[in-house]
Amino acid sequence: MSATFERGMNAFKEVLDAPIASFFSSCVHCGLCAEACLFYTETGDPKYTPIHKLEPLRRVWQQEYTLLGKLAKLTGLAKPVTDEELAEWAPLVYDSCTLCGRCSMVCPVGNDIAYMVRKMREGMSAAGHAPEGLVTATTRAIQSGSPAGVKWVTVQAQIKHVQADYGSEVPVNRENVDYLVLMSSWEILNYPEYLGAVGRILNRAGATWTLAEDAYEATNSGIQIGVSDLARELVGRIVGAAERLKVKCVISPECGHAYTAIRWEGPNLMGRPFGFEVKHILEVLDDLRRAGKLKLKGTLDTPLTYHDPCQLSRRGGVYEQPRTLLNQLAPQFREMSDNGVMNWCCGGGGGVSAIERAEPLRMAVFKRKKAQIEEVGVKTMVTACANCRVVMEEALEHYHMDVEILGLTELVAAHLDES
């Protein structure tokens, strides 16, 4: 990646499309997007207003693609975008936007601001202003297969554990199966129970599945950093494995942005529709339940709540499935005040959790989730994104809060009727 200012400016021009032009044309500076953004609500600093994060991109649009803007540029009246300015904007475009899209839901003129931030990152990274942590993670993902540097041998070790614990085989590189199971680095490293849980559920349902040696990692830091070429390379590995093994469906793990990367951006990155389906594990669980193949027994009789991962609910449309499952499993399931598609982000999505310098800010904005948890008054929170889980576990520790977080898939597996 040889980054230059010119490459960045070209990338900006490249990503500008009719939706973005209409969004910039419509903004009336009403400031409502700020009220929807936890980086503003929790800090009170107006520089975190979502639409402001796009100011350099807006000026490129104006000076390149509008008549008045072009005239202003020719006559020297327009303020050109500079490399220094982009450097100054990096903390706004990366550290303080989790691509959660809450602003996109409230903008009265309908601006999809998260869509624009995602696009703006293409230019920022091309100009060399992507934060170091994200660059490192992406480079590692390209070289070793995982942003955390998790190699296949690590997965193999985990497979052995799962096989020993549950006495059932973990299929690898098997062809013509129903599902290709993917994991995120976090699940491989921090939450090994995920693989066992998925395996037991699928086996019990009589579904066939497999892991792929060359495509076990679902996360895609190319999406977060904003380099479509690298994002394509990472998604391509999964698509390659899914096609080679002729699977019917690829299961995105409990990870929000991995789902966005494969399900929504994937076909666009590859430039063609997929011949297989892509589903989040919660969608698969719900499919199995509908088909009568998910037999559960017992309940978890503890007051608990559900944290919607943004990429899953607001940006992905998976918000009913977890509630159906929780209503069945947890009689004391309670909703937080803003939930479903209007949830508040954990503060670490969109690559923010990989940016070291953003940590103090991430802790500060967690106050929103903290207030939500305190309001609903539970000690157990269920979610379906390993990144949300890691981010929130760290923040709960930081605030000395005694709250436990569970993955929904493992909760389902714990109540599987295996008799």
Binding site: C27, H29, A36, G316
Partner: protein
């Protein structure tokens, strides 16, 4: 130039010029937007949600849960201004007569008293949102000269129209001429300032609804 000559120019050449720039400007701006194109989304839509873009055009007029409480002035000020302005523009009998003279189209107007209240409400709302823009840290931070210029351009037709109708300050002919000139200024500036949201809001809301709709998220 006498007040009558000014009025004659405003009603004739001025209006024609303003309308040409207004129409040409809108077409140009729409061309600038649509000519950038949009790549087809190759991901499989969750459900074929026909009309999600159109539904969002309507639904985005309502505040999403929780937002009204966080920013009541923006919402109330916005509603009162837009509704008041629309009533004044579209249901004031002389305005309808003007449109009928130009195009032959007409529709029933509202009683003068109703339009009067709507105009005053819209003017007051404009001052409330200006005060909010000057005091709210986010709005103040976002605002530049164009925001205040657009505010002034919106206020002038309402104010001059109100003064002309009530025959206050200066004589009727001059005030009517100023009223028409201020409308022409608004027409000329609309396509090239943030006032263009009057048109582009339908485009941006449609895209938003389309993007969210195919993912199964109603917005």
């Amino acid at each position: 130039m006498s007040a009558l000559e000014l009025l004659t120019w405003a009603r004739g050449t001025g209006l024609s010029l303003a309308l040409v720039i207004f129409v040409f400007g809108i077409l140009l701006r729409l061309f600038e937007i649509f000519s950038l194109g949009r790549k087809a989304d190759l991901s499989r839509a969750r459900d074929t949600s026909p009309g999600s873009g159109w539904r969002t055009i309507v639904r985005r007029s309502l505040p999403p849960p929780g937002l009204f409480k966080r920013s009541p002035v923006t919402y109330i000020g916005g509603y009162v201004f837009h509704i008041g302005f629309a009533i004044t523009l579209l249901f004031f009998v002389p305005h309808i007569e003007l449109v009928r003279g130009l195009t032959g189209l007409s529709w029933p107007g509202l009683p003068m008293q109703v339009v009067d209240i709507a105009a005053v409400a819209a003017i007051l709302a404009l001052f409330v949102v200006l005060a909010s823009r000057l005091t709210n840290p986010v709005k103040r931070f976002l605002s530049g000269a164009q925001d205040y210029f657009a505010w002034l351009l919106t206020l002038l037709p309402l104010l001059t129209g109100y003064l002309a109708f009530h025959h206050v300050i200066v004589d009727y002919t001059l005030m009517l001429a100023l009223h028409i000139l201020s409308v022409e200024l608004l027409l000329v500036a609309l396509p090239f300032t943030k006032l263009f949201h009057t048109v582009s809001v339908f485009v941006s809301r449609w895209y938003n609804g389309d993007i969210f709709g195919r993912k199964g998220v109603a917005s």
